[in-house]
């Protein structure tokens, strides 16, 4: 475990909105290529943490990314009217507007996430939840990110779609040596895929490997109720 492999160092990070403290003294360290699942009950500050990590909101304490890091961010909720004449191509082209090899990069990103060019020429409002998530992931990939932050990418997606998205994320991570941050409520997916788990609750955090964090006692304490999830032991 060398210093140079550290991609993110968070040291006693606190986030406040006015009087309300959302997160207090959260510390963890992430290495390149790791896969960090962020879990916790609703309102525990998962999305807020992500927004602080990308610099969208201010925070106190230490938050240090390795220099020159490129982010790919896939937000949970996109407040976009469904009737806009904006196509997937319009959106992706906006990413590579300054790049001459825009079309090649777009084709590559679409292939990586499994979207057809025909779908991409439709208005984004006509895409299904899963297709739209893929489009957002394609956008993120076009920037050749080192870090991918995904905020509940499978929320509102049907079961087979969820499985395909989870496979996609895993494949992208291993193929591109990405460091992945994933907010998820699906503890069995977290247990299966994550190398580390960051569990937020009541402003504080537990960080460690899935086996140490996803224990019945800790989950009970965090969620306030016994939590059962299915573990695939292979």
């Amino acid at each position: 475990m060398t210093e140079t492999n550290t991609i993110l160092e968070v040291d006693r990070l606190s986030i406040r909105f006015g009087q309300a403290t959302i997160l207090k003294d959260v510390s963890f360290r992430v290495m390149r290529g790791e896969s960090v699942a962020v879990i916790g009950p609703n309102g525990s500050g998962k999305t807020v943490l992500f927004r602080a990590l990308i610099g969208a909101i201010p925070s106190e304490g230490g938050l240090k990314w390795a220099p020159g890091i490129r982010f790919g961010y896939v937000p949970q909720k996109v407040d976009l009217a469904r009737d806009l004449p904006i196509t997937g191509v319009d959106f992706l082209r906006a990413r590579e507007a300054s790049n001459r090899s825009a079309d090649a990069a777009m084709t590559q990103a679409l292939a990586a996430v499994g979207l057809t060019p025909a779908l991409c020429r439709q208005a984004v409002g006509s895409l299904s939840g899963g297709q739209f998530q893929r489009l957002l992931i394609a956008f993120a990939l076009m920037g050749e990110p080192d870090v991918l932050l995904l905020d509940e990418p499978t929320a509102g997606v049907d079961e087979p779609g969820q499985e395909r998205l989870n496979e996609l994320i895993q494949r992208l991570q291993s193929e591109r040596r990405l460091t992945v941050f994933l907010i998820s409520h699906d503890l069995s997916v977290v247990h299966q895929h994550a190398s580390h788990v960051l569990c937020l609750s009541g402003g504080t955090a537990h960080f460690g490997e899935p086996t140490t964090i996803l224990t019945p006692d800790l989950l009970h304490e965090v969620y306030g109720t016994p939590v059962a999830f299915h573990v695939h032991d292979h």
Partner: protein, 251 residues
Amino acid sequence: MTIEALALSATMALAAGLVGCFAVMRRMALAGDALSHVALPGIGIALALHVHPLFGAAAMLLFAGLLVWAIEERSHLALETIIGVVFSGALAIGSLMTTGEDLIDALFGGAGTVSRPEMIFGVLTAAAVTLFVLSQRHALIVTLVSPDIARTVGIDVKRLNLLFLEMFALTVALGLRYLGVLLMGSLIIIPAATAKRVSRNLTQMLTVAAALAIFVTVVGSLAADHFHRPTGPFIVTLAAVMFFLSALWGE
């Protein structure tokens, strides 16, 4: 109506059509419309000080743009209130300050003669607005989809929002001569709303909105000239007719 005045109105309409596309997509149709009302007290002050009314209007509009931006950065709810109270209040105060023929012209637009400085201001501003929308359309689209995504790709969202609002304000200033403070917002919004209904992608929307705005402005101005009436009502009526036709066509 001179050829120069007509040409100037066409460049103004081009800017209005383009800026309108993003105004409509950002759901600021009503906000934008009300924003144009603040021009009236600006015109009143300028007339009282014997300054060209255009400059009084532009100054007030730019200030209103800044105000909307500052409030928008904080909360969305407050903005609705500000628009409902402040901008409508500005219209009332402006009406008290401006009287007679000046008031009618300021409210609905009148052709008159275009002075040289006005011509230069008009062409340069229209060019600036057009250039802004075309060069920033990619950043505007990403920000529209998600401001947070925009931040991760290095877009200064705050600055972009301010620039957009000020470009919107300048476009309103450009059109005041032809449409007046009551109707200028409509020339920005209606062609873009029409284009939104009939377009399949961004390029189509921008093209259709610009073409429609220019068409209704030129035809409306000529008609108003012919009937010796204010230009604004003709232009906006024509724009509204186009919108309803597109709604029928869409069905």
